[in-house]
């Protein structure tokens, strides 16, 4: 089985972003591997460590500026074998490069460079654009089966059994035959730390770079961003002195009790 994993470089989840005149300020802000992509990488590596899965190779794919090489190095340090960097300076946080173009780039990479891909693992969504589109769109373009929000992936014959997170509970989906696309959710696994020896080894692993414009895809955004603004500041809470004051506030201010 050959696995392709999508890894996106996003603003670190712990950063408190600020909104400037052109959307979220990205200058000098700490960037990291998207947490859900990290889970996807971890799952790919675990599949490779599972003899029964017979994974021949894990290829990590990242689309973005030259710093995506760092993101790819993290994926390689966690256990991916090779990296592909599709270079573009277009902003990937929905401002310039959007889901449809990304899904089509994934398609091009699979069809032109990694024809024998059996499984695509992506994060369920990125924490900058929060779209969650690329997995389903790619499956649509490739006409491949898909399972999104995977919380558990098991091998079953020639296919996979996937438990999906839904609002009503867990749904189990059978993918009878590969290739397929799976998007990964929080509960799927806990990603490993990149250990030093692996970080050193990762420096020697191959990363191929291609230019996004060379694939003949229209990279223009399909949706126009009208405005980006911060949510209204949360009002500060207050301390109440006693129970009577609490009841008074609940009744007369918050109006949540009669």
């Amino acid at each position: 089985m050959k696995i392709l994993v999508g890894v996106k470089r996003v603003v670190d989840y712990a950063v408190k972003v600020r909104v400037g005149s052109n959307g979220v300020e990205l200058k000098n802000v700490k960037m990291s591997l998207n947490p859900f992509c990290e889970i996807a990488v971890e799952e790919a590596v675990r599949l490779k460590e599972n003899k029964d899965a017979s994974v021949s190779e894990i290829v990590a794919l990242s689309i973005g500026p030259k710093q995506c090489q760092e993101t790819l190095r993290t994926a390689l340090a966690m256990g991916c074998d090779r990296g592909i960097h599709v270079q573009t300076d277009l902003r990937g946080d929905y401002m310039e490069l959007q889901s449809d173009a990304v899904a089509k780039l994934f398609q091009k990479i699979i069809e032109e460079k990694e024809k024998d891909t059996d499984l695509v693992l992506v994060g369920k969504q990125s924490i900058d654009s929060d779209c969650g589109h690329v997995g389903p769109m790619l499956a649509g373009y490739m006409s491949w089966p898909q399972a999104t929000f995977a919380a558990k992936i098991d091998l079953e014959g020639n296919g996979l059994l996937v438990e999906r997170e839904t609002d009503q509970g867990t749904e189990t989906v059978r993918i009878p035959k590969l290739p397929a696309v799976i998007s990964c959710d929080l509960r799927l696994n806990e990603p490993r730390y990149a250990t030093l020896p692996n970080i050193m080894k990762a420096k020697k692993k191959k990363i191929d770079t291609f230019q996004a414009e060379d694939f003949g895809i229209d990279l223009e955004p399909k949706n126009k961003v009208l405005e980006v603004f911060e949510p209204p500041a949360r009002k500060e809470g207050i301390f109440v002195d006693d129970v009577n004051q609490l009841i008074d506030k609940l009744r007369n201010e918050a109006a949540v009790i009669p």
């Binding site: 712990a14 700490k30 591997l33 710093q67 993290t74 730390y193 990149a194 030093l196 050193m200």
Partner: protein
Amino acid sequence: MYSCPFPTNRFTSTSCAIINIVRRRLASTSLRSPTAKDFQELSKRIEKVITTDNSQTLLKYNSDWTGHYQGRSRVVCQPKSTEEVASILKYCNEEKIGVVPQAGNTGVVGGSVPIHDEVILSLERLDGIFSFDDENGILTCGSGCVLQNLQDKVAAWGHLMPIDLGAKGSCQIGGNVSTNAGGQYYYRFGSIHANIIGMEVVLPDGSILDLMSKIQKDNTGYDLKHLFVGAEGTLGVITKVAIRCPRLPAARNVAFLGCESFDMVRKTLICAKEELGEILAAFEFMDEQILDHVGNKKKIPMKRVDRNYQFCILVETQGSNGEHDLAKLESFLEKSLTSGNIVDGIVAQDMKQVNEMWEIRESCNPIIREIGYNYKYDVSLSLSDYYDIAEEMRKRLATKPEAIVVNWGHVIDGNLHLNIVTPGVFSVDEQVKELIEPFIFESVVRRGGSISAEHGLGQCKNNYLGKYAKTEDAVKVMKSLKKIFDPNGIMNPGKFLPSDE
């Protein structure tokens, strides 16, 4: 769990006779116990005074963090302004009533809780943030501001507080300044002495000493504010501080490394100073014994790699350029790995992992507290002697296998937190204590180290000041200074300086 609140240095017996003698001795100073009338007078002068005969309410103010010290105060004053602080001190000074200033009450030497029934003066309501000069990075705020709140606030303004410690969620800046708190960034940003720009202090007689400033360099006269830094509340009450904050770094990296011997830890430290240079921000260590315990409660990343190391190092870099910093970090790690100084390590890939790694280091203290009675020591030594003390202690306690020696600390500053704990046993074992003290202090002094690197003296180590820390002459000068500021001895009586015998 009530334990003897009096310094038990050379007095190893906790028999009632001794307690009564010491109690009477303290009582024979010129101070008296506050009465209900005093509570009334205090309530007239300031808005919020907690008095209650139900000691449950006052329990948290009377008990220290380690659980070793318990005061019996029946009143907590909560001033909300400098004037209210002045009014309390003026009254107590005239009436000769002892006062214990209390900030976050996170100290570990019993310095922030009463020995008897002294009035507790809580700084918690002095929590205003007055100004932030973001060009010069100077923050002015009330002494009751919680450190973590200040960190969050200045972070929003692109800066850092110059100190960081495990207690940040509860400790207050006034307490940090009064104890000259160290913490994990001491190497990088310097001590509080280096970062204090100004302060406002209320002296024991109620007069207000305005030492506030907006500027860094000022060689005009004796720099009085430095007397109050680390004075542990014995010279006055700090009500406001002006503190210098460094800029938030653009890049922050943390690595968790494993070494097989302390010699390797030392070599790694030298390599870090050479390869990381100006971006080196913190370098902490933990030994196998503490990691075993922390590992029971928290996931230790490298333990997943199925190897145990005798020592773990946490190294942090802070710099203005992520790419440059990563290059330096990689060079340091590669050199350390290939030379065999470190045998394994992990590098945090995002802020979540950075915080996880720090959590491991910061949980050493709280976790060991939950396990059993802690005999806590905080010493400063040169690196060649650093871990020898721990090994010496283990040999000494060989006859008491139920007492285990666990170590962690700011190795980059030569600061070792040596803790001995009796798992499952939560009361002091006098035989264990006798084996430890004064042996450990003599060991440290013989090696030219300090018996209290950053924790201070409080009521735990004050009586060792003359014998194991400073010369008789130095202590004489200190006592003279105390007399100048606090002739009636109302400020934190029985602490910091040796109690009169």
